[in-house]
């Protein structure tokens, strides 16, 4: 299992295109990818667009990424990079 901590950096948050691109990216991996919102403890399935949107992940939200599966190293790195470089 791979864990990463991230603070949502972009203005839009994980809404709209950033959310849908995240789901697309996560679906390309075999691993299970879960996001936990640090404040509320809410769990989000990163492969479900509805789940990601319902997470209310706004700019500044602190989250923890938990990735488990055969490609967990690569998945954790790429998802981490994707979220931390959001600018929109």
């Amino acid at each position: 299992m791979q864990n990463r901590e991230i603070v949502i950096p972009n203005k839009t948050g994980l809404h709209a295109r950033p959310a849908s691109d995240l789901v697309k990216l996560c679906k390309s991996f075999e691993s299970n990818i879960d996001i936990t919102v640090k404040d509320s403890g809410k769990k989000i399935n990163a492969k479900s667009i509805i789940s990601v949107l319902s997470g209310g992940l706004k700019q500044g939200t602190e989250i923890e990424l938990a990735v488990e599966g055969s490609d967990e190293n690569q998945a954790a790195d790429e998802v981490y990079n994707y979220i931390s470089n959001l600018t929109e």
Binding site: P9, K11, H15, A16, R17, S20, V23, N45, K47, S48, I49, I50, S51, L53, S54, G56, Q59, G60, D77, Y80, N81, S84, N85, T87
Partner: protein, 575 residues
Amino acid sequence: MERKAGIGAASGIAGGVVRRSCKQAIIIEKRYTDDIDSEITRLDDARSDYRRYLEELINKEENEDGRAILEAYREVAQDESFFDGVKERCRCEKVNIEYALQVEMESIVEQFLVMDDEYLSERANDIKNICDAITARIVGISDNEVLAPDENGRKLIVFAEDLTPDATLHMDRNLLGGFVTEKGGLTSHTVILAKTLGIPAVVGVAGALEGIADGQKAIIYGDKGEVIIEPDADELEKFKRELKIENKKKDEYKKALLGAAVTEDGIPVEVAVNMGDKSIDDYDILKKCDGIGLYRTEFIYIQSQDYPSEDVQLKYYRKVAEEAEGRPVVIRTLDIGGDKQASYMNMPKEENPFLGYRAIRMCLGNKDIFLTQLRAILQAGAYGNVEIMFPMISCMEELREAKSILDIARQQLIDEGKKFDNDIKVGIMVETPAAVQLCDLLAREVDFFSIGTNDLTQYITAADRMNSNVQYLNNTCSIAVLRSINHICECGEANNIKVAMCGEAASNPLLIPVWIAMGLTELSVVPGQVAQTKYIVNKVNKQKIRVQLSDLLNMDTIEKVNAKLSEMQCLIDID
């Protein structure tokens, strides 16, 4: 004659005949069943049918935003985790599938609504639209309305309680004059669509469907949010006048886009574009403007697994240099670090990333990486009119050191016998308060300044642009920011170097006259703003605005600045 008022959602005006669009209401009853498998099949069949319908629309749709919205709908329709929940409920409670779907949908929608965010409320609406469309298919009701043309060939003004984006895209655009809906907010997908398709729309009209009938004459004003049914002669006259003005404005934007931007009193202003947000840019706009005022290079580093090689970088820089066909392309060296980095960079997390180890600071600390980029940019200069720009400069030492590394790159390329532009222009971003204070000195050693208003505003006002509690301070119209920009322009003029601007403020209609009066000679804006920026430049009289400048720079509150800006706007002849 009757007037209805709502929110102006998509601009433009239109006249035509009323067409009511009424959805058949679906009543869902709870039923118990033991045949769970066939319930699940009904759901899966309905979902496939809806997906096929969306895919057909996606394939036909030429508008990019329209396609993106349809794709988002398809994605929700394919959200296995959500529909697994629906199936689970069906199985556990032994209920009919449309009931299970309804309950799951309501629970999600509720979660969205409690977040009290306009954007998420609209997404809740999207999810509801999608579930409704699937439900209609489960119970065997067709919900794809086909718009029949008016017998006299007049445009149709569609009145509806609400319109889903797929229903909107399903309508024949040649027949469509405008939309009036009872529901809907400004961030709804239907409104976004109406805007990009250029269809006037008024939303949030209470009683939109009351007391109207198909075939009545209707006029809508998309800016004011006004709808008029069966207009009288005066209203019709007014409509014709306004329509003429609107068509003229559209023509003028188009004309402005094709011509050069020159103020009313004959001062040319270059209007350039910002590019480099992604690997594929739209080069068409490049041929209709004065080059690239800011080419960002971060994407090349971020999409890569390791530091990109000279060859990889050269390929990108050469491509834009060639596409620009001789127009200047200002390439900004790597502006990364602090809050923004690629995983392979392995840089420590910082407490204060915006005041930390980023941009030129990081490049000067990693000379190999910097040298590789400079070599690539210099060589791209052999294929077009390339200029180089250093970000975040805050002292003379940084500028001189960056230039000395550029000299090393030059010498290496000479020694290796490689083609490059030896006379490349070198400029800096002025975006730190330190650079503002030093700009009389910095101006002696560079070919141009480019003002990055986003960072400059954040540093001058000491207010994080991402922190909503201090947004009232982070304002480019802040007098402290306006005075800084004026000072930069004065230093540029005194040293006879070009001063450009490449932040969001460069395309702000209220501020464009101010920038011109201050002496900025280049505005670099996002591609979508080129036409409007040129149009406004053409209308500005520099001398007329310039005499107002000292008044403006002596306003002591933001409120007075705004009032003065509006007053100055009246000096410009914009319809």
